[in-house]
C-alpha cells in the first residue's frame, strides 16, 4: 500500500459525497477544462481579421448596455429635454448599429468557415438565437422612444404581432410593457445567451480550417 494511495483515500473520505459545491465545481471543470476559459495561446490557424468581429460584437454589447444604463438613470423622457441626454441617446443608437454590423459580419464569417463542424452545432444555434433576440431587443427600443417613431412603428407592428395571435401578451401599443421588455427581460436573455455562446466557444475551441487533418 503506497503512501500516496492512502492519502488519496483519506482525502476522499473527508469530502462529503453529496457536496453540491463540489458537484458544481466539477461540472464547470467538465464544461470548460482548466486553462481553456482564458487561454493565452490559440491554434496557429487563428490568423485572420474575421476573428476580430466576435470580440467586437461583445465589446459593442458592453457599450450598448452601458449607454442604456446612463439613459435609465435620466428616465424615459430625459433625452427629449436634455442635450446631454440626447447625446447619450445618440451613443446608444450608434453602438446598436455597430453591434449589429459586427454581429452580422461575425455570423457570415462563421457561415463561410462552416463553424458548426466538430460538435459545434449548439454554438451556432446559440449565436442565431442571440441574433434574433437582439433584433427583438432593438425593436422594443424603437417602441420605447416615446416619439413619432414609436407611434408609427407600434401602429404598424401591431398587425404583425396580432396576426400570429400573441399581440395580447406582447402588446406593442403599450410602451410601459415594451420598455420593461427592452431594459430588463430581453437584455437578460441576451446576456445569458451570450455567456452560453462564449462558454461553448471556449469549450470546443476555435473550429479548424475546412479539410484540416487532426493535429496538423
Amino acid at each position: 500500500m503506497s503512501g500516496a494511495g492512502a492519502a488519496a483515500r483519506r482525502e476522499t473520505a473527508r469530502r462529503p459525497a453529496d457536496s453540491w459545491t463540489r458537484a458544481l465545481r466539477e461540472r464547470i471543470e467538465r464544461t470548460v477544462p482548466p486553462g481553456q476559459a482564458l487561454p493565452d495561446r490559440q491554434p496557429v490557424f487563428v490568423s485572420s481579421w474575421i476573428y476580430v468581429f466576435g470580440v467586437l460584437t461583445v465589446a459593442s454589447l458592453v457599450v450598448v448596455v452601458a449607454t442604456g444604463c446612463v439613459l435609465a438613470v435620466g428616465g424615459v423622457a430625459w433625452w427629449h429635454v436634455s442635450s446631454l441626454g440626447h447625446f447619450v441617446n445618440s451613443l446608444h443608437l450608434w453602438s446598436v448599429e455597430l453591434f449589429f454590423g459586427f454581429m452580422v459580419i461575425h455570423l457570415w464569417g462563421k457561415f463561410w468557415m462552416a463553424a458548426w463542424r466538430g460538435g459545434r452545432l449548439l454554438t451556432w444555434v446559440t449565436g442565431v438565437i442571440a441574433f434574433v433576440t437582439s433584433i427583438g431587443t432593438a425593436f422594443t427600443g424603437y417602441l420605447s422612444q416615446s416619439n413619432f417613431d414609436s407611434q408609427w412603428i407600434s401602429a404598424e407592428a401591431k398587425d404583425g404581432i396580432n396576426a400570429i395571435g400573441v399581440g395580447a401578451w406582447f402588446n406593442v401599443l403599450n410602451p410601459g410593457q415594451m420598455l420593461l421588455w427592452h431594459v430588463v427581460l430581453l437584455p437578460l436573455a441576451i446576456g445569458l445567451i451570450t455567456v452560453l455562446h462564449v462558454v461553448l466557444v471556449r469549450r470546443h475551441g476555435v473550429v479548424p480550417p475546412i479539410d484540416a487533418r487532426d493535429g496538423e
Partner: protein
Amino acid sequence: MSEVATHTPTRPRQTRPGRPHPVATRTPDSHSFATRPYDLVKEFVVALAVVALLTAALAAVFSSPDERSITMSGWAQAAPADVVATATSELAGTSVSATYGAPYNTASEGQKVLGIPLQKWGGVRIPVDSAALVLDPLTRAAADAPTKAALAAWRSAPAGTRTAWATAYGDALAKAPDGNPAAVASGSYGPVPVLAQSFLAVARSGGLEGQLAASGNFYGGDQTRTILLLSDGAYLEDTARAQQLGGDQWGMMNETGNYPGQPWMWLYTFWYQVAPFSTSDNADAQVWGLMMVLTLGLMFLPLIPGLRDVPRLVPVHRLIWRDWYREHPPVRRDRPAPKTGDEPGR
C-alpha cells in the same frame, strides 16, 4: 514561426509547411493543433476602446432622430376634418380598429396563415369598444348643453338607429369637399354631427391627452386605445408616408430622417414589397410565418444537406485561412467522399 508551440504536451506536433495532405473526412480537435501566443484580454480591451471611440464619433457627427410625437391636440389642429371623420367611423363601427378582430373585438376572423386562424385563436384579450373611444372622453369632459343632449339622444336610441345615423354621416363626409363637415349635405344623422364636432373641440383643447390612456388610472402607461384611435385616422399615416415610412416604402426598417433605422430587418420588410404578400389580406400572418420558417432554417442550417455544404463548395474559407492553406495545401479528391465532414457532429 519561432513562437509556435504545441498545446498538449502529451501529443507533440510539428507543422509541415508545404506538404500536401488528403482531404479530411472529420473535423479534428482544435486543441491538437500547434499554437501561438494570443492575448484575448488585450484584444477585448482594444476592441472596447475602438468601439467606444467609434460610437462617440458617430454620435457627435450624426446625432440621432427625435421627432416629437403627434398629440391629439396637434392632430385636431392640423387635420380637423380627419378627426371628425375618424370619430364618426368609430361611432359607426366602420373604423379599422372597430372591424379588426382579435385581440380587440370579434368583428372579424382576423388573419390566417395556411388557413390557420392564429389571430382568432389569440382571443379577445384587450377589449376595445370603438364607440367608447369617442363617447368616454365626451362624457368625462365638461360638455356644453348641446353635447349633453346629443349624448343622451345617442344612448337612448336603438343600436340599429345609431349605426344608421353614423354610417349616413360618414358617407356624407366622404362626399363633402375635402371632407369638410361644414359642407355636408343635410340628412338624417341624429346627434352624430354634434358628437363629432364636440369630440373635435375636446381634442383641439387638449382634453383628449391622457384620456384614453389613463382609463381611470393616474398612471397611464398603456397607449393601446390612444394609438388605435390615432391610427384609425389618416393623419398618422399621411405624416409617416411623407417621411418614407409607409409599409410599401420599406417603412418597417426605416426611421425618421436620414438615419439607418433597423437595416437588420431588411428581409422581414422585403417580403411586404413583393407579391403575393404585397397584395394579400393575410400578409402579416404570412410574412411572420415565412420569417419563422427562415429563422428556424438559419438556426438548424448545419443539419440541412446541401446548404451546410455551401461553405466547402464556395472557397471563401480559403481567403479566411489563406495563411494556413498556403502552408498546408489540400490534395484534390478524385471522387467525392461519402461524408464531407461538414456535419455538426463530425
